[in-house]
Symmetry: D3
Subunit: 303 residues, 6 copies
């Protein structure tokens, strides 16, 4: 048997195995044949929302007060169309995973949910505006508001977060998580869409920051790179599976600063006006106005 | 001389310098004129493999048991074509770097190597399926298997890793490293394709994780963000260059959990069922069933 | 009123609010209607520069000494065109933010600045060549120079940095920061374009590394993932705003190695030939030839 | 008032006029807001059908008997999805134009119609195969069947025609006409989808050929460039509008050849085995086995 | 000398010859280095204008009265930007060809000219609306106005013509001709932008129609495929070159029908309500209410 | 059985039939699995050649004498790569059609053939330059050489023809015909690559022109739209198939003008300095300096 025939047979064989029902179930292929949420479409939605929230900085670049409403009108209309479809798919996806056979009713709701979300865009823009100001006021290296909007990963991640958080509040499944993961991939900052974050919030540099699902963060909080606001442990149910939805991440009050690489774990409270130093490990409440630092390093050999 | 002429001269001058043989050698331009591996093509290959391994979640979205085999067939055929070319280029690239002048023979092997790799895809899918399950079972924030596949960077990085690891075992040069770096860029998780990783592996959040070339990781291991499994030091040869290929990264046994920002260095063994706390620095063996934590932080001034 | 009409009204309402003058000011929409810098164009410029600096590795893949000058010529010409436009927009953007009403004069300078930048490309290539060598010499896992160029995030980030640093020295506003953020997003390594970095510089793995605006780094320095070279604090002016441009980040002398997750803060000096261990927190000068390590971890319960 | 303001006002003014309800009605803008058929999607459908009908010649180029069924399967599935949508839109479009307010029922039929069309593809391929043979047998300039498929506009136009004709027989509105116009634009050959055309049909060169809606053409007919098979006149109804659907174009029997630029008009019959010479004008029946030619030209002055 | 070297030398040699100043002049390469008009940009402009003139039929497909103004606003703004640039380039191009060295002044006019053109769009739409009606009223094969807009090449060519004719009246060089040639390529109908064409104009099928620069066509005129309205001859100047701009094409009065392949040449007048039969050659005035037909064909041998 | 299942079955059934060996043979699917020539790649090649032959008019638009050679160098190199591949595929395609089983040898020739073709580009440019001049000198409507290059279909079709004719002379199969058909589709002018056409050749308007394989056309010839230079009949071999390659199309001597819609058939000679009027049918030799016109039309009823 010649070489080309052998190769054809290997490929054929592999295709057969990969198409087998068992292997497809291993890959969690649904059997319903309904279209699933599309990452590409969600990426387009987020880009359009970015153009809506900060017109001129993203997308068409020479907007001015006279023509901005046309561009906003078109972009809002496009977001409405695309988001309605993705919301419908997200709802359908969740229903099927939960073995509902009749999710027709809830899907019909998708356009209203998309419109409701769009009605909240002015407030989202307002909140993001305070985040821009927080960065500008706190970083001696920045020269202008525009530089913050263009260059700071915190604005990128907070745009996605404030979008995803509103979608989550509308009880839309899956879609918010995909949107927050996009920002995680682009910035290295991982904020669960469930986290509640107040105004005037800033993350500097940001790579490695983790903010868990049940975090509650006040106003005027600043984090540095590598900070974790995570869970310490979580209760299991009688089957040994983690119980979903229990508050298990920190509460951070107003005016707190947390320095690089600090790890704050569990449903503890960092009191207002406190400062947490870099590279520390915090698992208990911190009272207001505290300062926490790592023990001194020592010089030594052995590296 | 007018302004435009001066600019033309500056550009011309710079082009000349950049084209000089010496400067080109500085840029490591090969002299053979053979096509080099293409990152764009490798990106397309990885995307096709992702569609093959998790059909429906990536690429065409409304697959169902009736039509999935056509899509798998086309995607496998495309991967075979593209990968054969890239393997050939990778082999040629390595030969030239090693000053072989006759690499014709080894190049001819490329289609067989691509077919052999494709024959391993069913097992790769099987292993990734356990990774999905590991995440689902361990994270109270997750709602469905689909959410894990769509949103968790650990699935993205492990898809690339399990692909790259098989290609490395087939002794294909360069290509595996490019594939693992793609995932590093997207997820902030840096796994060398040489690392051996068992089933049911999970990384939570993940940004900043580093897993070195000679690591050996058992089953049911979980890492958090910022964990390093690295080398402490490495022996040099008589010319002062590092000796390649010596085991120098940790062995992590089954059922180990390592928390955020921990740094584990050197050819040490973390015994089974152990837990390593966050932000610690470990350079010696840890016996089975241990728990290692950082010393207490203290409150203090001086930030 | 029917469902479609209600939705139309909600969308219309949201578009109106988003178009209002007040809301647009919140979004920092400039009123001048001039085109702003374009991230897409800057991304294309950086890709072209990468093709110029390492011909054959990026872009067209089968270059050889005979035809390389044509490709260099075209790419240099394209960079000149695109960069002139972006420099002009960057200057204009900065002028407007500073309320200058006449920036016509400075804009006219853009082609000269672009040409001046291009004249420095041969030196940039030369410096990057030493960075490639530094990685190759220091990592036992690497097999060839080509692997370094293709796969190491440090080369990607240093390409952007050495470009952005030259643009900053030409006093071009905003553009350098956008370029450095691109690399930050791709690699998780955040280097401010103001930082001065010597030859033969290497970052291994790199995710989470931060190098601040006023850092000065000598020759043959190596950093590992998660290292911060940051500011400890910064003086405020009479209005409580940070004073811009004051040196506030570390000076790192020649031949220093800093291990994973170390945090070095403030205008301190790390003396030559020193080694800083992983996960430490350094806020004071380190004398030459020192070794600094974290205190020992202890075994314990309570995770 | 300055120049920019005047321009802004002119643009604003023009947008207002173009948006006015009256002007939009002039442009036949429907008021229902339903998506209309998409030329881009229909172009994609035709390209996919061309790949299905002549695999290997269009689209993926290295098909072979072993893998052709995967590519056919994917392409058929894609055509089914896309065509179902376009059929639905075409039906809806026609309903609205006819002021039906309830076209929900007929739209639901779209997937069945698409499937029924797909079931006829094997016969369409069979007929096109005879058209390829007709060209090959009749043109001394052609070297291979492949050359006919790649290069002859008659194959391109007959592919579209045989597709459009089947869609028309399924009573799908609008879509068939758009498909036949695509071929008209590409080839200069205008065949109404209503025309019935037998096997083994050939058009040589073809530019300017017109074949009207109610033509009936037998087997083994050959036309040259510029031939018109048109209507001479058509009866009007009581309102002076043309009555639709009345047979008004020629019947051309088997084995007829019609040379360049001949114009054949009205519901006449060209008898079998006849030859019509170039540049003639025929408005009456031609009996079988006839030869019709133009009167002799004369030499003369006056140009 | 080996084969690869010989090939390299041939290529090098050819590049040198093609780059020589003499050969470049043969190719009419201008020496000024100014950007020339761009066919791609003009194609985009025409597509945007088509979306503006017939909203919903081209481009975004689900417009409705509520959102149409946003889409019109964005498209008008984009046309203004793109067209200003192309007008500037067209003026500059013409200046340089005429060896003007200072065309700065006329270029500055480009935005006003673009705005003036845009102010005429409502009238252009109005006229095209009558062309749609003319086709609908005259063709028994058509089912709806929408079918006319989607499928009839006459609408495509008249859209381009009515645009190009207005641009020509604004004395913009070159651009109108490029726009009319686009339609020629798509439809096989060649209308010079100088031709004046009244309302309610229809061309059926259309391939091969030619309408010359100085034609004047009344209202309610209908042409069939292959009709030429051309020049018979033209006077030469003392150097033997044709004198530009002299009326030399036919005047066609209201309510004339000209059948397929008729050739009408010279500055003659076809009187109102006349009918010209197919395949005839007319070079003298035709009085009103006439009918002109070709002499009878005869049966004969000799083909 | 439900509706979706029935549809699935219909699709499955159709895919099976289309994949059957018999049906695939009907579609002329080759069995060798070698890649076939690619229309997309040939289109790219022609576009690159157009940029090479008329730099500045197509592709990059702001070329000048200083930088034109870089663009030419890159474009020539790209054409060489792409054309070598397509020539190889064309040769292979022809071999297989002729049932050669060993075409390895001739394929190896492809790069030399591509290089040889490239060496002829300077002469092709030179000839096209005379075609531009012919149009400019003969059309009172034209304003500049640039307008001819941008707008006249004759330049587009002659560019493709002069390219295709050289490729044909190098005995490359299939590729020349695909290239000439591209121009046919774009312009409605159908010139077989075999036709020999002298310098200073012009076609005005051009739609419907046909120039056959064995035509020989002198210098300074001008054709108008709809002219056919075709074959009258052709001898058959003993099997009733047309004999290939016999001269059967007209010879047109220097300085001939042929007006619109004239049909000239057979291996006849149109003597030099002759004029052929519009709409005539010529099948016999025309002596030099002749004028041929159609008989007078008459007025009449009956349309």
């Amino acid at each position: 048997m010649n070489k080309n025939l052998i190769i054809s047979e290997i490929l054929e064989n592999s295709i057969s195995k990969l198409s087998e029902s068992d292997s497809c179930q291993t890959a969690y292929l649904p059997s319903h044949g309904k279209p699933m949420p599309s990452s590409d479409s969600l990426r387009e939605i987020v880009n359009l929302l970015r153009e809506i929230l900060f017109p001129g900085y993203f997308g068409t670049s020479n907007l001015k007060p006279e023509n901005v409403r046309y561009y906003l009108g078109v972009n809002v209309d496009k977001v409405f169309q695309l988001l309605s479809t993705q919301i419908r798919r997200g709802i359908c996806f969740a229903c099927r995973e939960e073995k509902n056979t009749n999710c027709k009713h809830c899907e019909d709701n998708a356009p209203e949910l998309a419109a409701e979300f769009i009605s909240r865009l002015p407030q989202i823009r307002q909140k993001l505006s305070t985040d821009v100001k927080a960065i500008f006021d706190g970083d001696p290296a920045v020269r202008s508001y525009g530089e913050v909007i263009y260059c700071y990963p915190t604005i990128r991640v907070m745009t996605n977060h404030r979008i995803a958080h509103e979608l989550l509040k509308l009880e839309i499944p899956l879609i918010p998580r995909i949107i927050s993961e996009m920002a995680h991939s682009e910035t290295g900052i991982d904020i669960h869409p469930g986290a509640e974050i107040g105004e005037y919030f800033a993350i500097d540099h940001g790579t490695g920051v983790v903010i868990g699902e049940t975090c509650v963060i006040g106003k005027n909080v600043k984090l540095y790179q590598g900070v974790t606001l995570g869970a310490k442990s979580f209760p299991l149910d009688e089957n040994g599976n983690p119980i979903k939805g229990i508050p298990r991440h920190p509460i951070v009050r107003d005016n707190v600063v947390i320095y690089a690489q600090a790890t704050v774990l569990g449903r503890i409270t960092i009191g207002e006006n406190s400062t947490i130093g870099g590279n520390v490990w915090v698992t208990q409440d911190v009272s207001p106005n505290s300062k926490i630092v790592q023990q001194k390093s020592t010089s030594g050999a052995g590296i």
